[in-house]
């Protein structure tokens, strides 16, 4: 037993045991992690979804609670990307990661041969290991099955078939890991797997340079880490932190082999695949003829260079229209609810500053943002369906020809798609790419993708131009929304093309992609994803957006007694004295509204808005929109809540319960012209599509790029782009005679 092996008795264990959960991307690892720990991390049916290490608590019947570490998905344990580097360090227990007491390897049964490559690499590290096979039901539906006993005998480790949605194998897995912790059983597979003699000698020689702290006296482990070094040594990016003598030894053998006309990479990788190829037919039984043909037939259509692309665009339009039609009744209910609460609270509280604060500031401001919860839930239902069925991988395939043209990495499409949800996780997901240049290029354009925070703004503007059910042509709203999404993709690709040829020059990045078979989506998994996203949205509405809304309310309300343009008290007195009773009421109401508007204009925010008005006037925005824009630079949704506060303060109290989208569409300026014309709304949407209005995105970019330079550049170029594009839209539409 090695010195750090877990002691037998639970009471003697100094800290909780650590179990590493490792596997290829897309193996279903995160689903297993969620099932075992009860955590709800995001699960998706395309590679590269887990980028940061997550840990969860897993309670075993005998060993008690242990820490389950969700290791980033990786195709191999040789580091080609930042993510794979983390994977090997976490599984091998290299600094800074503690050594795992056992490893659970997750492998996709439908792609067993390729996933076994990873399994063998884990076994070489000589830790107590168990193999969990996922997608077993998918495999069975294609008329195949896995001989678990043969696989277990050959590998020398326990093998469990797991179907998380049906709870199949979970109990068995728990019991086996519990047993592994107590008995410290090691894999019994022969090491090295069919390695040629010359290669074996080279590996042994390099193994002598592996630091003691890494192999802890285990020669098998030392050889495994030697192979890792040999497969990494010629990449300066990947070898950072490896001991220099180890790299030197690995390079010496690499060059010696090259001089003999041998290829060490192919020999090391080939030895593992030779082991797999010799046995795979014993592991996978074919019970019926291959039924994968229907996936192929569907793919013939969906991957067709023209039809497939047209179907993708059509599908997206339907999805976005459904976003409006499907969410509309729920939005109405939430609007009514917010209006009801505002009236109720407004009735309870005595008239004054505090009532204005609670009703106009808190309830209406946050309520205006919460209204978009149904659309966000639906958005994630659709994204979840696309991911879970495997269609996302096809979209990556379709998009590659475009991505390649602008110099983006093939995998950049995954972060860009997550950018539809939120730029922050999308920026983290750029870690799946090997090279810094690819990561930076993707990071710089991801915030241009239409994130869910833009949805409330678009929703508000589109509803202002085309209220649902106003007898317009069908699909208008959906088409407009789809156009905004398409616009964001086009601009992001264009920006990547320009940046990739100027600031971030680089060679054409390669693409190797896996195409999973279509799967039936798992309702539970999608549901959990929706609930999680909704939770984040509501939490943000209750914290960040609430704080910003309150700040904007304060700026809009103070100073309380500003220097007004006219003396309203005198005007009122004058009206009371001169006008007959029937005209008086109307005149007084008009004076009230004018005074409110005047106060707003003289408030701190009003002054700010009017200061920037010259800069935004050519875009078609008045100072009130300017106030919203200032608030939106912290977070985009604040625009909506700020507009709610602006229009709430501007109007009579009895109009409070009117929802914001109605107020916006009916709002007129002093001359009686509509303020939110289609021209202004489009200009505003374009501005929101392009401007970098998100502090969290800038923070994430700072963290991932390791400095202030890139986020500052991101902010500058996006904001400049937004101004220019909005200017072009507003002035261009003016030239064509739009009001």
């Amino acid at each position: 037993m090695s010195p750090s092996a877990p002691p037998v008795a639970e009471s003697a264990r100094p800290t909780t045991a650590r179990i590493a959960l490792a596997g290829n991307p897309n193996a279903g690892k995160t689903t297993v992690f969620n099932r075992l720990t009860g955590r709800t991390a995001k699960v998706a049916n395309y590679p590269g979804i887990t980028v940061e290490i997550e840990e969860g608590r897993w309670v075993l019947p005998r060993s008690g609670p242990v820490t389950l570490v969700d290791v980033p998905g990786s195709y191999s344990l040789s580091a080609h990307s930042a993510e794979e580097r983390v994977a090997i360090e976490a599984v091998a227990g290299l600094d800074p990661y503690p050594r795992p007491d056992a490893v659970v390897v997750v492998a996709d049964a439908t792609e067993l041969a390729r996933h076994l490559y990873f399994v063998l690499q884990v076994l070489e590290l000589d830790r107590p290991t168990v193999l969990a096979l996922t997608m077993v039901d998918s495999l069975e539906s294609t008329g195949r099955s896995i001989d678990t006993t043969a696989l277990s005998d050959a590998l020398g480790i326990p093998v469990v078939q797991v179907v998380t949605s049906k709870d199949r194998g979970i109990e068995e897995l728990t019991r086996i890991v519990d047993g592994l912790l107590e008995s410290d059983s090691r894999p019994r597979v022969a090491d090295p797997f069919d390695e040629p003699e010359s290669l074996h000698r080279a590996v042994e020689d390099v193994a002598a340079y592996v630091p003691d702290a890494w192999h802890r006296g285990d020669p098998m482990r030392a050889r495994a880490l030697a192979r890792w070094a040999m497969l990494t040594s010629d990449e300066p990016d990947a070898t950072a932190g490896l001991p220099a003598p180890l790299i030197a030894a690995a390079n010496r053998h690499r060059e010696a082999a090259l001089a003999e006309g041998r290829d060490l990479d192919a020999e090391i990788v080939g030895a593992r695949f030779a082991w797999i190829d010799a046995r795979i037919d014993r592991f996978v039984r074919r019970d019926e003829p291959d039924t994968r043909t229907w996936t192929d037939r569907v793919d013939d259509l969906l991957l067709h260079p023209i039809l497939g692309f047209a179907l993708f665009v059509a599908l997206m339009t339907v999805v976005f229209q459904a976003l409006f039609v499907g969410a509309d009744p729920f939005i109405g209910w939430i609007e009514d609810g917010v209006g009801f609460v505002a009236d109720l609270v407004g009735g309870w509280l005595p008239e004054g500053l505090f009532r204005d604060f609670v009703v106009s500031g808190v309830i209406e401001g946050v309520g205006a943002v919460l209204v978009f919860l149904p659309q966000i839930l639906l958005m994630f239902l659709f994204l979840g369906l696309l991911e879970d069925t495997g269609y996302m991988a096809r979209v990556v395939f379709l998009m590659d020809r475009i991505m390649r043209r602008v110099g983006l990495h093939g995998r950049a499409f995954v972060p860009m798609l997550s950018g539809f949800a939120c730029a922050v996780p999308a920026i983290l997901a750029t870690r799946t790419m090997e090279r810094r240049r690819d990561r930076l290029l993707t990071m710089m354009v991801v915030p241009l993708m239409t994130c869910s925070a833009r949805l409330p703004v678009y929703g508000l503007m589109i509803a202002a131009i085309y209220p649902l059910g106003s007898g317009d042509r069908p699909f208008t709203q959906g088409l407009l929304m789809a156009a905004m999404y398409l616009f964001s993709i086009v601009v992001a690709l264009f920006a990547a093309g320009v940046l990739g040829r100027t600031l971030l020059k680089g060679k054409q990045p390669p693409l190797v992609l896996q195409m999973p078979p279509y799967r039936r989506p798992n309702a539970k998994v999608i549901g959990r994803g929706m609930v999680r996203r909704a939770g984040i949205f509501v939490k943000e509405a209750g914290t960040v957006i609430l704080a910003c809304t309150i700040a904007m309310w304060v700026l809009l309300t103070f100073p309380r007694e500003p220097e007004l343009d006219r003396d309203y008290a005198a005007l009122r007195a004058e009206a009371s004295a001169e006008l007959p009773a029937e005209e008086l009421e109307e005149r007084l109401a008009a004076l009230d509204a004018e005074e409110n508007g005047d106060r707003l204009r003289h408030s701190y925010a009003g002054q700010l808005g009017r200061t920037i008005e010259p800069a935004i006037e050519p875009l078609g925005f008045d100072w009130k929109v300017g106030v919203g824009l200032i608030g939106a630079f912290a977070a985009r949704e604040v625009f909506v809540s700020t507009m709610a506060v602006v229009y709430g303060l501007d109007t009579e109290l009895d109009e409070h319960s009117a929802p914001l989208r109605k107020k916006i569409s009916q709002h007129t300026d002093s001359a009686g012209n509509k303020v939110f014309t289609p021209r202004t709304c489009l200009s505003l949407m374009v501005f929101f599509a392009l401007a970098c209005q998100c502090l969290s995105t800038l923070a994430a970019a700072k963290r991932e790029s390791g400095g202030y330079g890139w986020p500052v550049f991101m902010f500058a170029y996006m904001t400049a782009l937004a101004w220019i594009a909005s200017f072009a839209v507003y002035q261009g539409m003016g030239l064509f005679g739009f009001e």
Partner: protein, 77 residues
């Protein structure tokens, strides 16, 4: 020997030699593109230039530009 990029759909054969260098070449190896491996071309999309292959019962797609670095032998349809 032929170039993998020259093959059409439904061609079968064996991988012979891998060109290219460094991390990308190693990535191909680790995805199963080891010399000697049998394969089948499942799909070839010329607009866009993508090949879908089946190796050891797994599906992998790569661009035809990258397939130019891969030499194959024993090709039949």
């Amino acid at each position: 020997m032929q170039c993998l990029s020259d093959l059409g759909a439904a061609c079968c054969g064996r991988l012979a030699k891998l060109g290219g260098a460094g991390g990308h070449r190693r990535r191909l190896l680790e995805m199963g593109f080891v010399p000697g491996t049998r394969f089948r071309v499942v799909r070839r999309v010329d607009i866009g230039g993508v090949l879908e292959l089946e190796l050891r019962g797994c599906r992998v797609t790569l661009r035809t530009t990258e397939a130019r670095d891969i030499l194959v032998e024993d090709v039949f349809e």
